[in-house]
Amino acid sequence: MSEGKSKTSTGNPPLMSSCVMAGFPSPAEQYVEQALDLNELLVKHPAGTFFVRTSGDSMLQAGIMSGDILVVDRALDAADGSIVIAAVDGEFTVKYLRKRDNELQLVAANPRYKPITFADGNELQLFGVVTAAIHQFVQQGK
């Protein structure tokens, strides 16, 4: 039997509450409001935000390492210098976007990769703008 799944839109952890079994109430109780929420920090547009996993070293000098999870915000407009996810030759790739007079370039943060130039802006298909990289040192759960 397949395990039924359910996902919430924001995945917010539950609000903090304390349960005092006996004795005096915790003096901090009335100050506790809400746990810090990583979604609040990393996800500005939940409906337009997706996560992807990197593979390869083309953005190494931008601080993106192979295996990192990227936060991709489709709601944002890509500007010159944005780190973007783009579709190139049927694959998703993460690169810097460079805007010149009448051409667009995808530039790696690694001298071993050559820039990819798009003479006509229409050819470049952008998936979204990368707003953060999550680099885990210890895998928590999956």
């Binding site: 039997m1 039924g4 917010n12 337009g48 049927g90 694959e91």
Partner: protein
């Protein structure tokens, strides 16, 4: 004014957001258990492949035409649907999700404001944020918005605002294409000489009430530009079955919301069983008011996707799953105005192989297990064990061509180089 926003080839479009190899190719999405075609890309339609074609009939054509096949990925479709609805919440304080891929919006723009431009904004935003192409039809009533939407989908701009004088337009529309007029009603209308939407619009109210019923009478009123339909009065068998209602007063308590969702689930599940259908899953929505306190908060929609363990029409089974996820989308301090449940992944109950089990209500289950015991007695202990194991196995959906759960499972998110 009402806008009907309807996603184009929704399931195919969802797959294409993440799978670049599907772009510009004929794509077919299969129903539960890979039974038949339930969503087609434009390229597949061009090949003349109809909705509902069984998979085995499609198989011989796959190679010759380079057709791409995918099983229904309800986790993905549910998640993207929820995102579409959330974006729509930014455009209207009143969004009625009507099925997994369409919603009505009430719009009241200031006089002289451009509804066409607004429709384009909606369309662009959903494309940019979620990657799903939609058509937008805008008109003074839901019935006319539905017609406007059909027209919008054929236009490159994807948006159509019903003109004030729609005589010529409705004169071309066969009456059976009017929302809520099924084949049987259309036959009867045709016999009375009413063949087009334009003719139906001109009918006398009393005559229609006498000949038909109040629902058809409401449709006539709607065709004339006066809203007369409530969401729940629409009895059309749809791709998806839903129930959503606004609350009498703002609701702030999770228990009340859970209760409301239970009622709506039960109502929608009754509809489902009445149409002899089962659902693979549900999207559940809360709509909330903006707040103007110390901390101003925007109003909007929040939702979640529930996948049942197997396609079901059993209210109890559904509620167990649904109630469990509501705390995850509830935010303390919000004032909620509306809740809704939309089932999707519908299939005919007769098509579900293990019917004797899932139909069974408590008392019937008892009888069933009596039978199981009898079989056990006759065939030995191992038979009982196998049967017990087997109770669950056939329920698991067959999805041989399933794409990854790109948005709902950390181990399956897309890879970028």
């Amino acid at each position: 004014m009402f806008a009907l926003v309807d996603c184009n080839n929704f399931y195919v479009s969802c797959e294409r957001v993440f799978d670049l190899s599907l772009v510009n190719k004929p794509v077919a999405i299969l129903s539960n258990n890979d039974g038949c075609v339930i969503s087609r890309s434009g390229e597949l339609k061009t090949l003349g492949i109809k909705m509902g074609v069984p998979y085995f009939q499609l198989k011989p054509l796959i190679k010759a035409h380079g057709i791409e096949i995918r099983s229904s990925n309800y986790e993905l479709y549910g998640d993207l649907s929820k995102r579409v609805m959330t974006v729509l919440g930014d455009f209207s304080p009143d969004v009625e999700p009507y099925s997994i891929d369409e919603a009505f919006l009430s719009l009241s723009l200031p006089d002289g404001a451009g509804y066409f431009a607004y429709g384009q904004q909606i369309r662009r935003r959903i494309m940019k944020w979620v990657g799903i192409p939609v058509g937008v039809g805008i008109a003074p009533t839901r019935t006319l918005a539905k017609i406007a939407n059909h027209i919008a989908k054929k236009l490159p701009e994807g948006v159509f605002v019903m003109p004030e004088d729609n005589t010529a337009l409705l004169a071309q529309l066969p009456v059976e294409d009017v929302w809520g007029i099924g084949h049987r009603l259309a036959d009867k209308l045709n016999r009375l000489g009413i063949n087009t939407a334009g003719q139906l619009k001109l009918q006398d109210d009393a005559f229609i009430r006498r000949q038909f019923n109040v629902c058809v009478a409401r449709t006539v009123i709607e065709l004339n530009g006066t809203p007369a339909l409530e969401m729940d009065s629409i009895g059309e068998p749809s791709k998806s079955i839903s129930c959503s209602r606004s609350f009498g007063h703002p609701v702030i308590d999770l228990r009340d919301l859970t209760e409301a969702v239970a009622v709506y689930t039960s109502t929608a599940a009754t509809k489902l069983r009445k149409e002899n259908q089962k659902a693979a899953g549900a999207n559940v929505y809360f709509q909330y008011y903006p707040e103007y306190g110390n901390q101003a908060l925007e109003g909007g929609i929040t939702g979640t996707t529930v996948i049942f363990d197997f396609p079901t029409g059993d209210t109890g089974t559904m509620l167990k799953k649904i109630a469990a996820v509501l705390p995850g989308i509830f935010i303390e301090g919000r004032r909620y105005k509306k809740a809704g449940v939309v089932f999707y992944g519908l299939e005919s109950a007769a098509a579900v192989q293990q019917d004797i089990f899932s139909y069974a209500e408590a008392s019937r289950r008892d009888k069933l297990y009596e039978a199981v015991d009898k079989i056990n007695k006759q065939f030995g202990r191992k038979a009982l064990f196998q049967l017990a194991e087997g109770v669950l196995r056939p329920w698991a959906m067959k999805r041989d061509h399933l794409s990854p759960n790109y948005t709902t499972d950390w181990t399956q998110i897309p890879e970028v180089k």
